[in-house]
Structure formats: structure tokens, C-alpha cells
Symmetry: D2
Subunit: 448 residues, 4 copies
């Protein structure tokens, strides 16, 4: 019996919610998404996709996890139901999966779904639904607080819908399940591997808060997210007994504290909005010893490259001068970066039109949402545009608790997951449906 994309998508609701909550419960940090990757690879393989994992997906970047960390993550993945066969192929930290559906000649479209969790302690109170309903993260300090668990589930849903309509499609679709978005490293690794080099249409989506008064589900694009640079700093000083000879030490912790103060105090800029954050700081070895080392994870952001670069320059100056002031050394590593993100207007129009045909899915009258934050999807966008392709990131609107990256973050998965699957599938059908090649529209009405 023939069913529309909407019907197919909504029929997946329980499955999608199940995927999402499973990923949520076994949240994995960037480059350690072994269990998640292995299960995605297994599912795509079962559906009939050509599946790439490990070295075939990305390039090793800076700051690959150390062996001990990889081993611990592998062990966790094994005992929590990871696919043992695929785990072997991602145990090197080159996580992520690409599923490829080839339907003959035609253009290439890539969909990107990010799959990594964050270093956050999940709210353990009964107020928090994942806790109450038993799907909160089992790992202290690791949590899906940005919706990537949902993104991964949407990707699997789209994969299933596509298989259902693949006889009507032409061209190539790549479903990219990307690791390490939060650290701004995952996209780059995949871009450098070449997976975006022949892509004409690039799509991604992000779960977002439905604002007061809004009743729509989908926004066709977004923009305004900030360019960002990630910096790791290590100060190395000299230990000394804090009472017997404090003046003989070189105090890395004090240097770090001063640096933190000064970083947040970098002047606002008239050129555009900026951000700065010192997300983590670890310093010192013992209470009665002048701290001989301090490590910080820092990020700076800006409305555009100019002002992001201004923030980076100021940060470097502050770090170097703080170090010199306290007689400690400073090692600065750039860990990741991304551009400001902006959807292509033409593709936004196309997305809005395609989604507008869906039953049970409501498209926002505004094409574009202004968003905060930073997104390493911008790195993929840049590559696609370099050869004339187009890109957009959709927003999937639903009810959300707490702020993004808050320990109480949760979203209405049963509401939005099937709608998001429908929206992305509809766009894919709009691009790759046979009517396009044949110049015929007759299936169009049916399928949406």
C-alpha cells in the first residue's frame, strides 16, 4: 500500500523516540561516540546503505583521545550493547558513519546529523523527565544537552523513509553522521577526507525552542551564528612549598586566575557581537604546593571573522602577558574553529516550498531564524559553496526545557522527531524525486 512521506515518517514515531532515548542514555563525548556509531552503522547496513566507518569517514586531527581514554570508551560501549563488529572499526577515535544511497545518475546531496554529547552533569532530580523516565545519561559528566541524540535519531528515520521511496529517486544521497561537533573538529575531519567535494545540496537541522506564540514546526534556514575559535592553554610554572618558600615558586594557578579575569574583560566591540568563555580550568597538585601547572579550555566567538579574530588576538596577548607576569610558560593550542553560519536563500526557498506540501507539518512563514552559538557545519557549507553548491541548516521547533547546554535540557521528542524526518525526506524527494528528472510532477502530490 502506498503511503506519503508524512505517513511514513509519523509511523516511525515510537522507533525514533526509542533511538533518541537510547542514545541519550548512553551519551558519548566527541571522538568517543563508539557505541552510537556502531549502532548507526549496523542500522544503515541493515537498511541497505553502503556504510563507511573509521578511516573511511574522517582524517585524524589534532587532539585525538589518548589510548587509555579510547580503551575505556570502547569497554563502556561493549558492555552497553554496542555492535561488536563495528566497534572494532571505530575504536581508534575516528568515529562517525556515512551511509550512501546511490540511485543512478544525478546530483549529490548530503545530509549531516551530529551525534556527540557534552561534558555536562545531567540533572538528577525527578523534575527532569529523562531522570524520571529512566533514560538519563548513565555517565556522570556526559549528557546530550544539545539535541544531538535527536539529530542521530532523525538521521536513522530519514534513512528508513528514503529506502521506502528509493525507487522514485535518482542521484546520490549521503547521510553523514558526524562526530565531535561541539569541539568544532568533526566537520573538518570529514571535509578534509573529501566527502563534500561533489555535493550540490547540503542539509542539516537543529532542534530549537518553539518561541512563545509560535505554532510552527520547521524553519527553512538560519544564520547569525558566530565564528568561533577553540584554544587550549597550559601554563607551566615551578612548584615550591607554599609556606617554607612560596617566593621560590612560579604560580601557574594565579597566572590562570588572572588570565580568566582578563579574558572575560576583553572589550566589547562595535564591529559586532562577541563571546568568550573559559569552560574548564584545572590547576595544581596539592594544597600546600605552589601550583606548577594550569590547563584551560577557552573559546572565543565573533559575529564575523574580523571580530572573532580580534577576540583571538586579544586572548593570545592576555595569555602571554599573564604568563610572563608570573614567570610561567604558556603553551597555546588552537583546537578547532568554525565560520559564521548563514543559509543560502535559494535553498531556503526550496526547503520551505517542499516542506509546505507535507501533511501535519507546519512551516514557519519566516525563512530564516537568527541563531546564537557556533556550528562547525559552517565548515561543510564553505566547502560546498566553493564549487557552487548550496547549503542550509533547518530548525526543528518544539518545546524545550532549560536552556541549550543546561543540565535540565530536554525536548518533546515524540512531537518533533517524526516531523523533522518528514521535512528532510520531503526536501530530498524534492531534489531527487524522479519527477524532477522526468519533468513530471504527478507523484509529487501523492508522496508528500
Amino acid at each position: 500500500m502506498f503511503r506519503s512521506i508524512s505517513e511514513m515518517s509519523f509511523a516511525l514515531r515510537d522507533k525514533l523516540v526509542g533511538f533518541r532515548r537510547d542514545f541519550h542514555r548512553y551519551a558519548e563525548l566527541g571522538q568517543l561516540e563508539m557505541r552510537t556509531s556502531s549502532l548507526i552503522a549496523r542500522r544503515l547496513s541493515e537498511l541497505g546503505y553502503r556504510v563507511l566507518v573509521g578511516d573511511d569517514v574522517g582524517m585524524p586531527g589534532i587532539a585525538m583521545p589518548v589510548p587509555e581514554v579510547l580503551d575505556a570508551a570502547l569497554q563502556n560501549a561493549r558492555v552497553t550493547g554496542g555492535d561488536l563488529e563495528y566497534l572494532e572499526q571505530v575504536r581508534n577515535g575516528l568515529t562517525g558513519v556515512i551511509g550512501i544511497l546511490e540511485c543512478g545518475d544525478g546530483s549529490v546531496t548530503a545530509l549531516r546529523f551530529d551525534i556527540d554529547a557534552l561534558g555536562i552533569n545531567e540533572d538528577s532530580s525527578e523534575q527532569h523527565r529523562p531522570t524520571r523516565e529512566g533514560f538519563a545519561s548513565i555517565y556522570p559528566g556526559v549528557m546530550h544537552a544539545c539535541g544531538h541524540d535527536g539529530h542521530a535519531a532523525i538521521g536513522l528515520g530519514v534513512a528508513e523513509v528514503l529506502i521506502g521511496i528509493k525507487d522514485s529517486l535518482h542521484g546520490t544521497v549521503r547521510l553523514i553522521f558526524q562526530p565531535a561537533e561541539e569541539s568544532l573538529r568533526g566537520a573538518r575531519a570529514i571535509v578534509e577526507k573529501g566527502h563534500l567535494d561533489d555535493v550540490q545540496f547540503l542539509l542539516a537541522g537543529h532542534i530549537s525552542k518553539r518561541l512563545p506564540g509560535e505554532s510552527c514546526d520547521i524553519i527553512a534556514g538560519c544564520g547569525g551564528s558566530l565564528a568561533a575559535v577553540h584554544i587550549d592553554v597550559t601554563f607551566r610554572g615551578r612548584a615550591a612549598h607554599a609556606a617554607a618558600a612560596p617566593e621560590k615558586g612560579a604560580n601557574s594557578l594565579l597566572a590562570a586566575a588572572g588570565t580568566v579575569q582578563q579574558l572575560y574583560g576583553i572589550s566589547r566591540s562595535s564591529v559586532g557581537d562577541t563571546r568568550v568563555n573559559v569552560g574548564t580550568l584545572h590547576a595544581g597538585t596539592a594544597r600546600n604546593v605552589i601550583a606548577d601547572h594550569a590547563c584551560m579550555e577557552i573559546e572565543v566567538r565573533g559575529k564575523n571573522d574580523e571580530v572573532c579574530s580580534y577576540m583571538e588576538t586579544q586572548a593570545h596577548r592576555i595569555i602571554h602577558c599573564s604568563a610572563e607576569m608570573h614567570g610561567v610558560s604558556a603553551e597555546i593550542k588552537t583546537m578547532g574553529s568554525c565560520d559564521a553560519l548563514e543559509s543560502d536563500p535559494a535553498l531556503m526557498e526550496q526547503v520551505a516550498a517542499a516542506c509546505g506540501k507535507l501533511q501535519g507539518v507546519s512551516v514557519h512563514p519566516q525563512l530564516r531564524r537568527e541563531v546564537g552559538g557556533s556550528e562547525d557545519f559552517s565548515c561543510m557549507m564553505r566547502r560546498v559553496r566553493e564549487h557552487g553548491g548550496q547549503a542550509t541548516m533547518l530548525r526543528f521547533l518544539t518545546d524545550i526545557t532549560d536552556v541549550v547546554h543546561g543540565s535540565g535540557f530536554d525536548f518533546d521528542d515524540a512531537d518533533i522527531l517524526p516531523k523533522a524526518v518528514a521535512a528532510m525526506s520531503a526536501v530530498l524527494y524534492d531534489i531527487h524525486g524522479s519527477h524532477q528528472r522526468l519533468g513530471k510532477c504527478y507523484r509529487n502530490i501523492l508522496i508528500f
Copy 2:
């Protein structure tokens, strides 16, 4: 064949060096000295001492290690040659050993040897003798950088000498191998158990740098070390996305950084010398999240109780106001404390006289050395004085590399260990030798 205390002590040189380097190599942090304690207990038992361990030694205090940490330490101790039988008795974190030698009626003397290591990364360069000769700590971030490995070895040496002369002794000698000196918690636990309640003479010793121009080995006492208070602080704020909604967070890391700056800036006092140190700081969970927690280990010190209390009061005020300033909460725990330390003049005279009779050991013409730092031995001294006893801490002088608590700390063990054993044994003989009871001095000359 009869031998003098000096002869007996110097004959132990190689054994003492062996003990010290073994303890050095398997350095254990305070309350985790399981291997060290088990081996000391075994040795004392072999020598014929009545041996107390576990609950018989101390009382559980604040901040006992969590089970995971205890288990890891136990596991380490098991695989590195710890005594399996005694390990079972110290696995609860009540480490430390007391060896008791009872020689009939007479006064009670206690000797205290501290045995814990520090949270310091040992110098791994070839310049550092322990590294070069293969006895550097096998544990990253744990190091004997304060000579307690030597103190433990001296205690075992004294134990052996005493057994050799025990027929000439009367009264009771307690050899207290104390854990957790660096955290200022170990002495208190033993005092509260009552082990000092009947002690007339209390001795300890500390390896110290021989100053330029000095050629002596032993100083009879010391003073001037600072009163100290250990404070742990936890700030708890609110996580938020550092770009999308930074203003919704409550930044614990920034609160901590400001606190650090202000703590070091507490006014110097005309009442007396002060110290303040933030030894460790750990904050935040992820780069792009406003840090929701920050933990610090702090210590303040002062020349006397008044000025130490001034520092503590200021620190509390700064912590509370910093927390309020950033909308975070602050939890302050007092983790340990000690008084200023001062040796008793009469006992110093006695020590100097007794040691002055030794062959091959040279006593400093000054009775007392001014020392920095803080010592929880002061807690034992106070108890002994409360019932009219006397106490002193000797200084064992030798060549030392780097500063105390420095990552390159080392001392000339072959030089000072036998001398220190001789000195403490001589004092014990001076107090407990039979000639004292009998009013006869004839053995005095022989034995020294």
C-alpha cells in the same frame, strides 16, 4: 659482642637506604599509605614489637577517601609487594602503624615518624637522582618531596636499634608511624584515639637542608613554624550555553578566579607573618558551557593563632562575597588545622646533651632552628604538654637538592639516615637507659 648505638646505627646504613628508596618508589598519598603501613607493620612485628594498625591507631576524620580511591590504592599496594595480611587491616583508610616496646615500669616516650607523600609530579629528568637510579615514584602526581620516606626508614632503624639494647631499658616506648601529615589530619586522629595521653617525652625529627658553612648533623629542636588552616571550597553555579545564552549562566569558574586573586591579596599583617595558597582549582565541564562548579583546596597560615585566624576570617569573607557577586553558592569545609610549633627548651638541652655523646654525629651549637612551613606534630605536642610532658622536633641536616616540596627534591640518604637513627636512639637511651633508674652511669660511655 657489645656495640655502641653509633656502631649499631651506622651498620644499618644500607638497610635504611633500601627502606627509604623502596618507600620513595611506591609513594602513597595521605590516608592511602597502605603498602607503606603494611610493610612497616610487618617489620615491627618481626622485630618483636606489639603492633597496632587500623582502628587501633586512629579515629576516622573528615574527608576519608571514597571507596573507589581506597580500592585503587589497595590494588596498587597488592601488586607492588605490600604485606597482604596487614593490607586488609588498613584498607579502610585508617593507615599508620604504632609499634610498642614495653620494658617494665617507667616513663612513656613516643617517637613520631610521618610516612605520607605529596601530590607532586616527580622530576623525570636524568638530573634527578631518583630518576637516574631508578627509584623515582612510579605514580604520576605522587612523590615523596618532603623526606617522609626517610622518616619512615629512620623509624624502622630506631626500632631495630632499640631491640638491640632493650635489656638496658625501662619504661615504654611507642613508635608512631603517622599518616596524612601533609593534610594536617593524621596527628589529630591519633591524638583523639588517646595515644599521647600518658606520654612524658615526645620526639619527632625532620630532614632539613644543611646551610652553607654548616657541618653539623643534628639540631635539638625547632620553632617558628606557622599555625595553619586547610579549607576546601566548592562553588556551585548554573550551566548555560556560552554563546547562545551566557547571561543565563552563573559562572563558578569566574567566581573562583576572582576569589584566587583576592585571597593572595589579603593584606599582610603587622601582627606577624602570614601565608595563603590556593593549591588546586578544578572547574567546569566543557569549553562551551558556563562552568557550573569549581572546587579549590586552600590553606592559610599565620605566625600565631591570632593572625592565622585573621587570614581565615578574611578568606571566608572573600569566598562568600565572590559567590554572591556571581550568583553562585559557596560551600566551605575546614579540612585540617595545626598550631604554631615550638620545641621545649629543657628537652632540647637534653637532646643536645645525649646526641653530643655519639661518635660520628655532630650536634649543632644552636639548640633551635627557626623553620617555616606548618607541622601537625604541633597537635601532638599540645596534648603532651596539657599533662606536663615535653616535646621537641629534631632537625636532621644533610645535603638536599631543590626546595622542599619541589619536584626535584632529594637528600643524601646514606649520610643522614644512620645519623638520625643514632640520634633518636641516643635520646631514648638517655631517657630510658637502666643507668637512669639505677643511678649508675657506667654503661653510658659504652653505649654511645
Copy 3:
């Protein structure tokens, strides 16, 4: 002989440049613009305007200058050519002048020209044209670095043109020469006096940098300037000898330094752009005394009222907690405030149309310029809108050296002053020209 507004305005070029350079040379701070006010009043009087000064212009606000400061300013004004008669009427610090031209029935339009200088040291190098050509400020630390000298000159130019065409006008025109714009206090004082209560059209203008590639002279409106709040803080602590008893002091200077650091570190907000500045800090009495007082002039700004209020709240919290942390008291005074500024679209259209008819003046194709900074003109705008009036602030574009408020600020007065006079006069004629009343346009073409 009949002349167009353009002709009349351009004929004033030398006079306008003369006015501007005279005001520049004798720069006066807000509420001390005695010489400037007296000369403006004299000139308006000579031209035939009804002139209001002193109590008739504004209401005394917070922070009126103290008598000594007023006396010194009066004395300076007297010896540098101020009008002695009018000086007597503004010596109380109620500076500013209103010139009224009544042409029978009709609507009321107000033009506002701000006249105060800034607390900045003018660049004394030969590179700086005012220095080179001898019209730099004679007062150290006082400088027209924001173009208000030009605004005052434009006001006098408009006054002269209006008199030339007054027979063609109906209704009432008020030329408001406003003091103390920089401190955000001057507009409020005039609003509260009621001078805006019956105004239908309200205009102001600001000299601005012509951007690279631009060749236009006039922009019809602007927006985006920030809401702002001015705060004065006084910390009061306790003096003590900095060596003999530093711990007995309560250090206001240290409290202030910590406050400064924390203020600049207030979190950026996702709600909108923010600013914070500590413009001045004066603390302490002697090197060897713990500082017993510290005074700061602070401002916070935000894209809208919500985020400006967020900044103000954070600032108050920081100030209070810093004070408590150091045992000092904090007195906070709100010295001024303004709303975000936005021109009315309809009036911008009218302005652009009217100016578009002028010879020799080029209107920017964009109606509105996004501007930074803050403007207390917003306070007048709000009053006018409350009863249905419209308001706009024009931008007068020309070449500018250095940044606004920079010590090397200068602008091309010969270029822009006559054009600005023409623009404002044209708008006035567009509103108040007799053709409007009579429904006849015949003079319209002639006069522009």
C-alpha cells in the same frame, strides 16, 4: 535679491567655521557651558529671537556643579570673551539656550543642538589640525571631541537662515541649544521643564564619519544607539598606616580595582549588544596610607531597555559585593540615563524628500544609519512621541580624523557645516513653509 536656502547656507560658510572654531577653542564641560551659552543667547537675541536662558530653560537635576567649580567656569568665561550680561543668567549651572521664532498659527517644531565638550586632553601634536591652526582647546582635559562645537555652529546658522525666510513661515520653531548631553542629564532637564510638550516635529543632527566609498552628505535618520545608565560610586573604607598596621585598614582602592575587573567581565548577553566602561577612578590620599576612599564614574549600555537593565543590575551586585568583601561601604548614585534611539520612518521620509531638493547637498539613498553610542536626545524623542509627535536625528556626513571621543578628533567643518544648515533649514521650510498652509507650491522650487 532672493536667494535659495542652499545659497543662504553656503554663504554662511566662513561664519560657521568661525563659530565652530571659537567654541572648540574655549571648550566647556556639561553644565559649565557658560561662555558658549552666553554667546549663543547674544547672537539669537541680535537675530530677533525670543531668548530663554537659566531657570527658563531647564530644571536643576542631580549633581549640579559645586559653587567653586561654577565660579571658576564663570571666571574663565568672563576673561575669554563671554557675554557678560548673559553670563550672569547662566552662572548657576543651568546652561543652555532656547531661541523661539513664532510665525503665527501652526505646528510646533523643535530643533536640538547639543553644545557641551568632553573631559579629554586634546592632542597637542602638529598632526592635529586644531593644534596646528591654533584653535585647539585652551583648557587641559576639556575638548570638543564629539562635534558639539559644530552642532552649536549649525544651530546659529539655521537661526540666521530662518530669519531670512521667516516671512514665508507659519507656526513656531524652537531652537534648543542643549547642555550636558555627554552626561545624559541635559535633555531630561529641558523635557521636565515642558519645552517638548507641544512639539509635533523634533529634529537633531550629529556629525558623522563619511564611510569609505560614500559621497553623500545627509542621512535622514538613525537608530540602534544604545540605552544607557550612568552610575557614580563612592567606596569609603578606613585609612591605616600601610606598613605599621595594614590589616587595620579597609582598602577602598583595592575594592575599586576588583570592581573594575568584574564590571568589564559582566557576561555578554544573547539578548543584545552591551557596553560597560569605568571612565574615571580616583582613590586614596597618600602612598603609605591604605586608601580610605575611591570614586568611580561608570556607564553601562544595552541594545534595549531589558539588556541595559541587566547590565545595571549586574553592576550594582558587583559593587555591593566588592564593598562587602573589603569591609568598605559603597554609595551608588544614578547620574543619568537614556533610552535606545530610533528615528520615526515617516519623518525620515519627509526629511529625505526635503533635503533631496537642495542644490549642493547630497542625500544618502538609505534612510537610516545604524549608530553606536548613546544619545540623551532619546529622552526628548520619547516625550514628543507620547503625544503623537515624530522625531528623527539626521547624520551629517563628512571626513573625520581619529575616532569620536578620541584626542585627535576633528572634522571638515568647511564642508559639512553649511550643508547641515541647509538640510535642517530645508526640513523646517518643508514643514513650516507658507505653501503648506496655502496649499501652494510655487515658492518651493525657488527656495531650495
Copy 4:
């Protein structure tokens, strides 16, 4: 009729109190003690001393007051009863007076009395006796809060007593009324002029608090005061509009605030006690301008030269790195310095013995008091010792309100001034009395 030194001194009580309160009321800052110097010179001249003023007293040093300041001080001195003739000779800022009494051959003794006030606002409440009784300083921000008003009065008292007994004296006595003690510049200027080059005995005295339980008046010497260095810093940055282009500024005020925090945070030293103070900070020109300059008066101190030098080095490093961090320049000037102070034991013995003979004056059984603070008298001491002379600073004990350098500082002038005069005169008689030369003691008993 013959009178003893005690009788002569106590007879001066009202006169001494009068001098002190007059000096207190017209308090003058260092290098501006014009009125004070002129009246001292006049009085010494009347008594018959050879009087040196102006260029004959000292050498111009760094940081002489600017002409405007000198002129203002001169004007103040003229209208408040200064001696017009002598005022002309000290108007160049080379204040201070030396009175010389030559009594034939013999040794040279110098007495030093410091005469400058402090930059402190005097307590204006009725609780403060100088306010209540009408002799509080008439100058805002200038106050005798360190007892130098009393020292000057004591000097005039000694001058009068000496004249009374001059027929019994031999040798030379120099009464040095030294300016600018608080800035650590006055002593150096006089030393460099050579006035100490032939001095065998050097005396000074300081009014001090009588401690609880003490009933003595005089202590023969003191020590333990700190070595000190005075540093002035000027940061110069770049002004910019704080809202329109804050990122274009270079914020001197923020650089200064960070410097302040870091300076107070310089590590305590195990080498000895330290101090640091930022006494004054003045920065910025206007609220809405990024501050282009900031000036600070800083002092560092240490128990000895080594640790004082450590503090100075750290301070320089902090200042330079803070400047670089904020893109501002830093100019550092060393404004003054002094050594640690310690009285000579032999001279203390002599002082105690001499004063012990006085009626109505009680000498402390301890020869030496440990004092805080710093004293540029140490500079004179050093010179005298270089050629074998001896020096001591007596302490004059009495009841004192508030702390030294506190705004409520006052002392019991009627109690201590005559006793201090008696003590210093007795020591002078002990050194220079004819009995010394003649080997006869008969007048000794009478005169004390």
C-alpha cells in the same frame, strides 16, 4: 636661679603644646612645609642659633613640586602667619631648617626632627579632639597623622633648653628639622648635602603608643622597621568612545586595576616580612571615554634589602606585563627609598642611662622596641655609621587615639612633649656636658 633639665623642660609644657597645635592646624605636605620651616627658622634665630635654610639645607631631588603647587603653598603660608622673610628662602621647595649651636671643640651630635604632614582627611567629628578644640587641619586632605607636629615642637623645646645650659656644653649640636619624611626623600637630600659627614652621635625620636600595662615614657631605641621603595607609575593608553568604538581604545584604567590586584598578590616571602601598597590611583577623563591614562603611587617594603628588592622586582614585572597586556605604555619612576632601621646598642645604653637620671621621666626597661613602618632616618644612620658614628631613634610613649596615619590620630601632647624634650636634652648633656671634658661629675646630679 639654677634649674634642672627636667624643670626647664616641664616649664615649657604650654609653649610646646602651643607649637604642636599651631603646626597641626596648618599642616603642610612634604617639600611644602614653608610656613612650618619659616616659623622654626625664626624661632631658632631668636634663640641664638646659626640657622640654615633653603639651598643650604638640602639638594634638589627628584619630583620637586611644580611651580603652581609651590606658589599655592607659599600663598597659604603667607596668609596664615608664616614668617615672610624666611618664606622667601624656602619657596623653592627646599624646605627644612638646620639650627647649629657651637660650643667650642668637641664631638658633633645631630638631632633630627621631621616636620611634614600626610595626605589624609582629618576626622571632622566632635569625637576627634583637634576638631573639638579647634586645632584640626584647615586644609582638606592634609593632616599631621604621624606626630611630626609634635616632633617639630620637641625640636623647638630642645633648642630652648640647650640655650639655657649652653655654658656647660662643648662641641657642636645640629638640630635638623627635616622635610618630606613620609615620601622618603627628605633625609637623602640632607645627607647628600653633607650635614651628617662629621656627626658622631645621631638621634631622633618618634611619638608612639603606650601599650596596655605600660607606664614608661621613653624607650632608648628601636629597630625592625622595613626597607622601602617608592614607585610612581603612569600608564598611557588611547582614548576612544566607550560605546561607539571601545575596541579602538587602550584602557589604562583597566590596566591599572589589574596591576593593583596583582601587586597585592605578590607572594609572601620566607626571607622576611613584606608590604605593598597602592596608596593613590587616578585614572581617566570622562565616563564615556576609554581611559587614556592612569597614575599610581606605590610603595613596597621588606624586612631587609634582599626582600625589599624582591618586592620591587616583582612590582616592575607586574607593571610592565599589565601594560603590555592592555596595549598601554608604562612609565615607572623611583621616587624614594630607605633602608631597614636599627638602633646602635651602645648608644641605646647611653640614652637609657642618661634619661634614667631625669626627674619625672620614666625609662622603659627594654632598650629597644620592634617597630613597623619605614623611616628615612635610616638613610642618615647609614651615613653616620660609615665613618664610625652611632645612631638611635628613641620612642616617646604616650596615649594615642586611632592608628598612626589614621584620620583620627591624636596624642597626649601635654604629657609627652616636655618629657621628650627632657630626654633628648639629657642625652645631649650626657654627651656634650662640660663634666665630660673636665672629667668632673659635680654638675651632673644637679642638672638632671
